[in-house]
Symmetry: C2
DNA sequence: CTGAAAGCGCTAACAA
DNA sequence: TTGTTAGCGCTTTCAG
């Protein structure tokens, strides 16, 4: 790999000049620019980004730490985050923690402030303590779509109104006449998706419908989790006419369980999820869900992070995503007659 | 962020000594180690990985360039690649090109040899010319699971026997008595998945079954692509009893199309895919497919890359993945009687 | 066992 | 407009 000084030597100038043409500060005479560019072409020179980062005190790289790249929510998030970052001239480094908080911690400690100018943390079970400890470094850290907002005002984060999402789901089922309803709640690294459940329950209560603990299943946030929960629910409560899942992935699993037992969706049982991942559109019947607006969340999160990097005094440091919206597809319908 | 010299000052030693205890060359007196470690703890020091990389001439970071993080194959690949890399003390930087070769090129040019010690390229439509141009840098580049192996021996790559995968699928359908078969072929960035189709066709030919062009659909490698292709196939060839898809994602789409039309799988039509992504297990009916062994491919690929980084003379430079294997699930069955 | 000093490749004042 | 000169934070001989 050719270096700056080789290029400089070949062009008969100094490294400073080459550096200047490289990032075209308009301070170089056209003729010299010409010479330098020829030398660059001739040597096949590429800047060493590490050296540049060290000199500039800025790597133009941000890290995205997430728990499980196989959960389709994250790839969808990554895709937009990467695009936004690229447009703002940052590299995005995706770090998968395999659901292990210790790996998340390790990434954070190693990367924040050294490899990356900032890091965006998604539901990785990293404690607020860890985050606070790291705040001493100047590298901004932002958490996205936290369920629990006990982070305080001093940690930048993006908040999604999960409670409202649950509420919307509840209102939809209520409007369709359902009264015997089950709920499948995911347990991610951040703990139960309790905000969504609370919202759901409160909506039902307004309609005079109860949601006893017996019809709630807490399971892992996966297809298999949703499947098993649905099986258990059906076994113990064959009379339910609708199931609320705190996310789409589990709803997909639940739909498999229903299909396996010959139960029709939505004629026999209605199914509603939260998030609106691509899969919700692709599955059959297509899933009615409460869209969290992945694109929005990702965009707001990464932009907040980059804003904070470029201007540490940036305000606000806590941003709210617009409320979720109901997307009606084919998995919900009027309560069955019997 | 504290630096080495601050730690050194606090411990009353020089940076060289701190550096030595940091990576425990056994050359430091226990008492000094003690002092230094206290200073490290007191300052909350973390090494600046950029500076280290510059000094060592090695970043311990590898990049994984892939076309579409939303295609579930890639997250599955990423997960194991990341794990292997981590165990070998490398960071994995995932670069999504959004299916745009120019972005892939840009990543390659910017990252290879500067930010990353090596890069693993997956089906991103980057030309062999580009790769060759980059070979001048010392940074190893390995391509994984190339369909076309016209890369020559001088570019390290991992090759999957796609032809065999197609053959296995063909033999399976043949054994079930199918003779009127359609095929859905994906067109990724690397061009049509023609190896798989060739293998499939040649297996059928051995069994005396033809696969005319009329029953082949070339579509994009997505759920929607598979769906549309299946619709078109059914419309023009209602007599077919089996469909071969060159990958699982399209098979999933095809299954939706069949479900939409009330066609039962496998009673009316058998469906077989290639790859064995998680979705193949999750969908209903579960998909019969030819498993490429994602875990194996990923492991071999990343290990080859790291081997090459650590020892540029490493041999072999081209590694073959063990042959694919048939995984029979519920989407294939005997040909229907009529 | 520890320190002094050079240098990785680049940027950024400041001079010339 | 260009060159000189310091670093950025770390590793790594080579002396002491």
């Amino acid at each position: 790999m050719a270096t700056l000084s080789e290029v400089a030597r070949l062009a008969g100038v100094t490294t400073a000049t080459v550096s200047n043409v490289l990032r075209n500060t308009q301070k170089v005479k056209p003729a010299t620019v010409q010479k330098v560019q020829e030398a660059i072409a001739a040597t096949g020179y590429r800047p060493n980004l590490m050296a540049r980062a060290l000199a500039e005190g800025k790597s133009s790289m941000v890290a995205l730490v997430l728990p499980d790249i196989n959960n389709p929510f994250y790839p969808e998030f990554v895709r937009v985050a990467e695009r936004v970052a690229r447009h703002r001239n940052y590299f995005l480094m995706v770090c998968n923690t395999d659901e292990r908080p210790d790996i998340g911690r390790a990434y954070l400690h190693q990367i924040a402030g050294t490899l990356a100018d900032g890091v965006l943390v998604l539901h990785t079970g990293i404690s607020a303590d860890d985050i606070n400890e790291l705040k001493t470094r100047r590298s901004p850290i932002v958490l996205a779509s936290e369920e629990k907002v006990d982070l305080g005002d001093n940690i930048p984060h993006v908040v999604v109104n999960f409670h409202r999402a649950g509420e919307i789901a509840g209102q939809h089922l209520l409007a369709l006449g359902h009264t015997r309803i089950g709920a499948i709640v995911g347990c991610g690294l951040e703990g139960m998706q309790v905000g969504r459940l609370d919202g759901f329950r409160s909506a039902l209560e307004v309609g005079g419908v109860a949601l006893p603990d017996a019809v709630i299943r807490n399971v892992s946030d996966t297809v298999a989790g949703g499947h098993d929960a649905a099986v258990s629910l059906l076994e113990q409560h064959p009379d339910i006419t609708a199931i609320f899942c705190t996310n789409d992935l589990m709803a997909y699993g639940a739909s498999q369980a229903l299909a396996d037992q010959g139960i029709r969706i939505p004629q026999d049982i209605s199914l509603i999820g939260v998030t609106d991942i691509q899969m919700a559109r692709d599955m059959r019947p297509a899933l009615t869900t409460v869209a969290l607006g992945i694109e929005q969340v990702a965009t707001l999160s990464i932009n907040l992070l980059l804003d904070l990097i470029e201007n540490p005094a940036h305000q606000p440091t806590i941003v709210r995503v617009p409320d979720p919206v109901l997307v009606v597809r084919s998995s919900t319908g009027p309560v069955r007659s019997i």
